[in-house]
């Protein structure tokens, strides 16, 4: 760390989602829709066409009655850092730099007015966190009144995705600057889903800041190739080398195992593959 030379410490905003606490109620999904002016259509039952920046997946353990078990897994954008900071699957492929990795916050942005809709980023994202505006967004007469001015509604033909409510970060930073502060308190910048979750299952903060709860919850274990010390912690598809900033906690083994692909007789997670 170059702490001595510069005051600027890079932030790495991340999320820890406790799947033991998550009840699958769907509040995070709606909080996100309401916060981010996400459009809706008459029929949203085709999930392949339904824009849900935050999507709650229902996982089952595949066991027969009565050994069956169900777990819900909220999936925002993972804000992947890739194997070297910034080499997210999507950022590396966007031909027009319409999506970018912020070194300051670790957040993967999406610039709707830059995007020309090639959808390459969607093909690159194994989490299906990216959504295309197949239709013009239309609000029933009068309903456009609730649209927030902090997030611009997207036009047809572009890709959108979870931004970790980046506008809230900007808002919080503006406020802090006005008050002459350079650093944000943990609770000043929280995503809409984190704030809404009735179960308090989502924790959000700067993974690089030891004062923030998230950094403690998934504190890396240097002896174990940097995996969190917490044995219940895992990330989705870690083996692909996407290096997500969203962590999950589960006390159930089958849930943790559902987070990644394993060969039949594979017990331990091997080191994730590296890409040059």
């Amino acid at each position: 760390m170059k702490e001595g030379r510069t005051h600027k410490r890079f932030q790495k905003f991340g999320m820890v989602i406790d799947l033991d606490k998550c009840t699958g109620c769907g509040s995070c999904m709606v909080a996100c829709m309401a916060e981010n002016n996400v459009p809706f259509r008459k029929d949203e039952s085709n999930k392949l066409l339904s824009i849900t920046w935050m999507r709650v997946y229902k996982l089952t353990n595949g066991m027969p009655f009565p050994e069956t078990d169900v777990c819900y897994l909220p999936r925002p954008c993972m804000q992947c850092a890739g194997q070297h900071e910034g080499h997210s699957p999507c950022v590396s492929v966007c031909p027009a730099i319409a999506t970018d990795y912020s070194m300051e916050s670790g957040i993967v942005s999406q610039i709707y007015t830059r995007c020309f809709g090639c959808r390459y980023c969607m093909a690159s994202c194994p989490y299906h966190a990216r959504y295309f505006n197949w239709w013009d967004p239309i609000w029933p007469d009068g309903m456009e009144k609730y649209l927030s001015p902090n997030v611009s509604p997207r036009m047809r033909g572009v890709v959108e995705k979870c931004s970790f409510c980046f506008h809230r970060y900007q808002r919080a930073k503006d406020r802090a600057y006005m008050e002459g502060r350079r650093e944000l308190q943990e609770d000043e910048y929280q995503t809409a889903c984190t704030q809404a979750c009735p179960a308090g299952a989502i924790t959000f903060g700067d993974l690089n800041n030891p004062k923030h709860a998230v950094s403690e919850m998934v504190e890396p274990d240097p002896k174990h190739s940097g995996r969190p010390k917490n044995p219940n912690a895992f990330r989705l598809l870690e083996r692909l080398g996407t290096n997500p900033k969203v962590y999950y906690l589960s006390s159930r083994e089958w849930v943790r195992r559902a987070g990644d692909n394993y060969l039949k007789n594979e017990k331990k997670v091997k080191k994730p593959v590296h890409h040059g």
Binding site: L73, I97, L237, N261
Partner: protein, 439 residues
């Protein structure tokens, strides 16, 4: 009526027949154009693509026409750089087919993107790390090269040639064609490769992801290689179809055989490389990410292991074996089979590298996703076919595409105006219209 425009020494069908044919293909073209405008004005909701299937039929068609259009650069490379003179009799046609393929590819891309009016952002705001940027640049440049290569042929039209300026221009362009061929080959190497790279760099998609050297994954080289191998097969295939349709021989056998032989060896080496790549992927790369081969090929109604076998064995080894043996490539039936299989093989490869990538689930709790194109997608995909048929028909009628044609088909003393004309890409519904009026 249009006899003044028809090249000397060759026979063409009556004008009404020609117009009827153009009209028939034109209807298909218009259907495609209508669908294209629907997509532009109403948006991509006209397709059956979705958030899982963000790449679909069009991108496959794009990759496929570019792959089979690879005949142009590879034939040009052989003709102008390696000095395979026998190929001069097929090079015009190879260029024409290439021109059609690449212009189609650009058109498809213009329809495929969600914001066509912002398409130029790919140049203006280019991300040099993106394979797609590389594709866009090389594709556009190479299309320019193909246009330059096609222009001299246009200038050879009987009437245009009469203008001294155009005559000299055409002559001079021929002189420097080697430079363009070299440029084209260079550009092609990159964009064919980067199209392969488009899939290969997707490290979030274990089905597509490959390691490689520097920034290029193995698929980069495999794509170039397969385009070089199968592109000429497509050139031969279209030539053969054209010959069948017009009912005369247009290209000498030595040119065809030479091209077939080279293709055969390319295909063989490609297949071996592809096999090694697949082997490594199956035994090392995919398992390191927790996948076994059959994870990619089961639990779905379409993408079975048959695809891999068809691609590598039936459409790789079989045609390669036929083409590298003199007996095989000299046998007309065997040659037909071989070039058809090779073309099917490369198209299948592109299909897999677009659609199957989208279909395979990566998260353990995701499902296989199947997709069926909408009619708008089908129409816009057929659109380039109809356009190709028309451009070939017009070029064939008015331009000396086949230098050997007159020699191979000596004219009766009577300067009869009827000639046969026809062309084609494998467009089945057009066949009835093409029944030769007879020479």
């Amino acid at each position: 009526m249009d006899s003044a425009l028809i090249p000397r020494g060759v026979k063409r069908c009556p004008l009404w027949q020609f117009l009827l044919f153009i009209g028939a293909a034109g209807i298909v073209l218009l259907w495609g154009v209508y669908a294209m405008f629907l997509c532009w004005f109403k948006g991509l909701n006209q397709t059956n693509m979705n958030d899982y299937y963000g790449f679909a039929l069009w991108i496959w068609a794009d990759l496929a026409v570019i792959a089979v259009g690879g005949g142009a650069f590879f034939t040009g490379l052989l003709r102008y750089i390696f000095g395979k003179d026998a190929l001069k009799n097929i090079i015009n046609y190879a260029v024409l087919i290439g021109f059609i393929c690449y212009s189609s590819a650009l058109l498809i891309l213009a329809i495929d993107i969600g914001q066509p009016l912002r398409g130029w952002f790919i140049f203006w705001h280019a991300n040099v790390h993106s394979m797609l940027t590389e594709v866009a640049f090389c594709l556009s440049c190479y299309f320019g090269v193909l246009t330059i290569e096609y222009i001299p042929l246009i200038l050879e039209n009987r009437q245009i040639d009469k203008v001294p300026f155009f005559h000299h221009l055409g002559h001079n362009m021929h002189e420097v064609m080697a430079v363009f061929a070299a440029t084209g080959a260079f550009l092609s190497f990159f964009h064919q490769g980067s199209l392969g790279g488009v899939a290969g760099v997707l490290f979030g998609r274990p089905f597509a992801f490959r390691e490689g050297i520097f920034i290029w994954p193995w698929t980069f080289f495999l794509f170039t290689w397969s385009a070089a191998a199968c592109g000429p097969c497509f050139t031969i295939l279209v030539t053969k179809i054209t010959e069948k349709v017009v009912g005369k021989k247009l290209v000498k056998d030595n040119a065809i055989e030479l091209l077939a032989k080279i293709s055969g060896w390319m295909l063989l080496t490609y297949t071996i490389a592809k096999f090694i790549d697949t082997w490594y992927w199956v035994t090392v790369l995919a398992p390191s990410q927790g996948f076994t081969l059959m994870d990619f090929y089961s639990n779905n109604p379409l993408y079975g292991i048959w695809i891999l076998i068809t691609e590598i064995a039936i459409c790789g080894l079989v045609p390669a074996a036929i083409l590298i043996t003199p007996k095989g490539r000299k046998n007309p039936v065997a040659l037909w089979i071989a070039i058809s299989l090779a073309v099917v093989g490369v198209c299948l490869n592109r299909w897999v590298m677009v659609l199957q990538i989208m279909a395979v689930p990566v998260m353990t709790f995701d499902n296989w996703v199947m997709y069926l194109p909408s009619w708008q997608e089908v129409a816009t995909t057929i659109l380039p076919g109809a356009y190709g048929v028309i451009l070939i028909a017009i070029s064939y009628r008015y331009l000396p595409v086949f230098p050997n044609e007159a020699e191979l088909n000596p004219m009766e003393p009577l300067p009869a105006e009827e000639a046969e004309e026809k062309s084609v890409e494998p467009s089945v519904d057009l066949e009835p219209e093409l029944t030769p009026a007879e020479a």
